[in-house]
């Protein structure tokens, strides 16, 4: 059975809260062992690298950290690719924004995912080398993993086994 859905946990696992997305992905992987049509990976890369890993999947769920002016650590944001701004100023070849990556992949004729859901957890510290999360973010990890799994279950009801 081919895997149709990919969950990508993004971040740097040795840079405090920057690794939040990775920890959420690990939690999902632990809880979704039986779901063979869902692939879960962790990655410390941006758009151009994301292009490689996203190609071929129908749906991609990206879990990342976010910093907003609201500054409420642990709060979860649901974003769409369009929310991430236009493609005018990609931040770098290695950290190309997700939207440009998708556009680039489509141009090259790759099979890019039809749906990309982005979950972002608000963080505090992403500049201190540490394998520990700050307390509010740590509390938020299992909650976000649970939320994503619930959302997956909901969507999977529409995805019958025969279509996998």
């Amino acid at each position: 059975m081919s895997k149709k859905t990919l969950v990508i946990g993004l971040g740097n696992p040795i840079l405090s809260d920057d690794g939040a997305g990775i920890y959420v992905a690990r939690e999902i992987k632990k809880r979704c062992k039986g779901l063979s049509h869902i692939a879960v990976i962790e990655a410390s890369l941006g758009g151009i690298g994301l292009l490689d890993v996203m190609a071929g999947y129908e749906r991609v769920i990206i879990v990342d950290s976010i910093k907003t002016e609201e500054n409420t650590p642990g709060k979860v944001y649901r974003l769409r690719v369009e929310d991430l701004g236009d493609t005018t100023y990609p931040c770098g070849p290695h950290f190309l924004d997700i939207r440009t990556a998708v556009e680039l992949g489509t141009k090259f004729g790759y099979s890019m995912p039809g749906t990309i859901d982005i979950y972002a957890i608000e963080i505090t510290d992403n500049t201190t080398f540490s394998e520990n999360l700050t307390p509010e973010v740590e509390k938020g990890i299992p909650l976000l993993a649970e939320q994503i799994i619930e959302d997956l279950k909901e969507k999977d009801e529409l995805l019958t086994p025969s279509s996998l």
Binding site: I66, L84, P93, T100
Partner: protein, 487 residues
């Protein structure tokens, strides 16, 4: 009234950075400072860990230079264990390292420099990106870039388990041998890379050097900075990315230092300034002389242009021919900051040719990949040329081999002060009377983009793109105008 223009964060640059440009009462540029996000606590994070963990930890310092960090760390580990890798192991390491140079240099040229030179420095910002480059050069070239990148990354994956953060790196060798079947695939990648390298150089000559406007930019004073240069060279003073002796030349091209990287503290000084988290480097024997260029400076540059200036030739024949053409055109030393791009493409050709040589070397598939004849020293210095310039890892351990001291000197650290100077010079040319236009601002950004600086972090919290904010402030710090784009 003094004004301050803040470009924060800078666009199309690796990591997170900020440039402050200060205007004087007449609205002309008085000063410019290049700043980066501070990452804290790396040494504390490492202390007490087994030294063997370092090659797996350090690729996470930076999402841009993971392979060079991995390699410098592995070489430091050789030192700590007092062991030389076997000839086959060294060949496999060089295989991985050349693959990294090819991949990284093309991504920089086509994704970062391409928008400036292919689409145009003053083009509509909406088109001045990789998608605009592809529209200009054609989808097939874009596909070729992606294909070469994928195949060279496959080599890194083969040797070191996964790009972008390699996990390989053992004292005295490598963790796996190469099979004959793998050699065939590597050979195909190498052949493709040499062909593409030649195409890329021709493309650069046609699109950039034959364009008078661009050539004038490259040769113009706005992008000229007279400094010392430092790079690794082999025993014949040819370019070597993996190992060698550090050579320093003065702004007139004369050799002023030639030293074993183990003695780096005798030659490289580190200086703290209140406006930046980066410890700025300078030539210790000359003393810190501030942010100045010319014969009286003690600043030096590293990276492709520095390597071009420091070496007495390339290590491979096709790259040597290209190097000679660059020497005929620009002379030596060349202080033209935008010539970093040209030098970068010549290096990619050397890396591809060397990859080809390695792919055909019978030793590549030897099973003798590990020298376990350890002679523990507790101290190690690993030095390589990262794509962006000289990278030094220095570790010390206790008697159990647990890390007790870590010092890293990274390429962007060597280049930080010159980057600030380059930005200031460009800004002085393109911002006058307080008039700041988007196209002109990009011309200023081109000055630091040439260095391909990585800002030392693998943080990529959303939104995952770099908005640009320009703040013009009066002398009291009041914002009198804010221009935002991409936010």
């Amino acid at each position: 009234m003094a004004k301050k223009i803040t470009i924060n964060p800078v666009t199309r640059l690796e990591g997170h950075g900020k440039i402050d440009i200060f205007l004087n009462d007449q609205g002309d540029v008085a000063d410019a400072y290049f700043q980066v996000t501070e990452l804290r606590g790396f040494e504390r994070f490492c202390i007490g860990r087994p030294a063997e963990e370092m090659p797996r930890i350090v690729p996470n310092i930076c999402g841009v230079c993971p392979t060079p960090h991995n390699m410098a760390s592995t070489k430091a580990l050789d030192d700590i264990y007092g062991v030389e890798p076997t000839p086959a192991a060294k060949l496999i390491r060089k295989l991985q390292y050349n693959a990294n140079f090819i991949e990284d240099h093309y991504i920089h040229f086509f994704f970062l420099a391409g928008p400036d030179f292919v689409v145009g420095p003053q083009a509509n910002p909406a088109e001045r990106n990789i998608l605009g480059v592809i529209s200009k050069v054609g989808i097939d070239i874009g596909e070729k870039v992606i294909e070469v990148r994928r195949r060279t990354r496959d080599i890194i994956k083969l040797v070191a388990s996964k790009p972008p953060h390699p996990e390989g790196g053992l004292p005295g060798g490598v963790s796996r041998a190469i099979s004959e079947e793998e050699r065939r695939s590597i050979r195909e990648t190498a052949n493709m890379s040499v062909e593409f390298a030649q195409f890329a150089l021709q493309f650069f000559k046609d699109a950039v050097l034959k364009n008078k406007e661009y050539l004038d930019l490259i040769l113009g004073d706005a992008y000229n900075l007279k400094t010392y240069y430092m790079a690794l060279v082999d025993e014949t003073k040819k370019m070597n990315f993996y190992e060698g002796t550090l050579r320093v030349i003065d702004p007139n091209g004369k050799e002023v230092a030639f030293f074993d990287p183990h003695n780096y503290t005798e030659y490289i000084g580190e200086w703290v300034e209140p406006w930046t988290y980066i410890r700025l480097t300078y030539l210790r024997k000359l003393g810190w002389k501030g942010l100045i260029e010319g014969n009286d400076t003690s600043l030096y540059r590293v990276g492709p242009l520095a390597r071009y200036n420091v070496v007495e030739g390339m290590a491979t024949p096709l790259a040597e021919k290209e190097y000679e053409e660059m020497v005929r055109t620009l002379g030596k030393p060349a202080h033209h900051t935008l010539a970093y791009h040209w030098a970068r493409l010549i290096e990619a050709l050397q890396a591809a040719e060397d990859l080809q040589r390695i792919a055909n070397d019978p030793l590549l598939t030897s099973k003798d990949i590990r020298n376990m004849n350890f002679n523990f020293t507790g101290k190690g210095v690993g030095c390589v040329e990262a794509c962006r310039g000289v990278l030094i890892h220095h570790y010390e351990t206790d008697e159990k081999g647990l890390i007790s001291k870590v010092n890293l000197i990274v390429a962007t650290q060597h280049n930080a002060a010159p980057i600030g100077l380059s930005v200031k010079k460009a800004a002085q040319h393109f911002i006058k009377g307080g008039k700041v236009q988007e196209g002109l601002l990009n011309m200023v950004e081109m000055a630091f983009r040439a260095y391909d600086p990585c800002l030392g972090c693998a943080t990529h919290s959303l939104p995952g793109e770099m908005p640009l904010e320009i703040k013009i402030r009066d002398c009291k710090g009041n914002t009198i105008k804010t221009v935002r784009r991409g936010i």
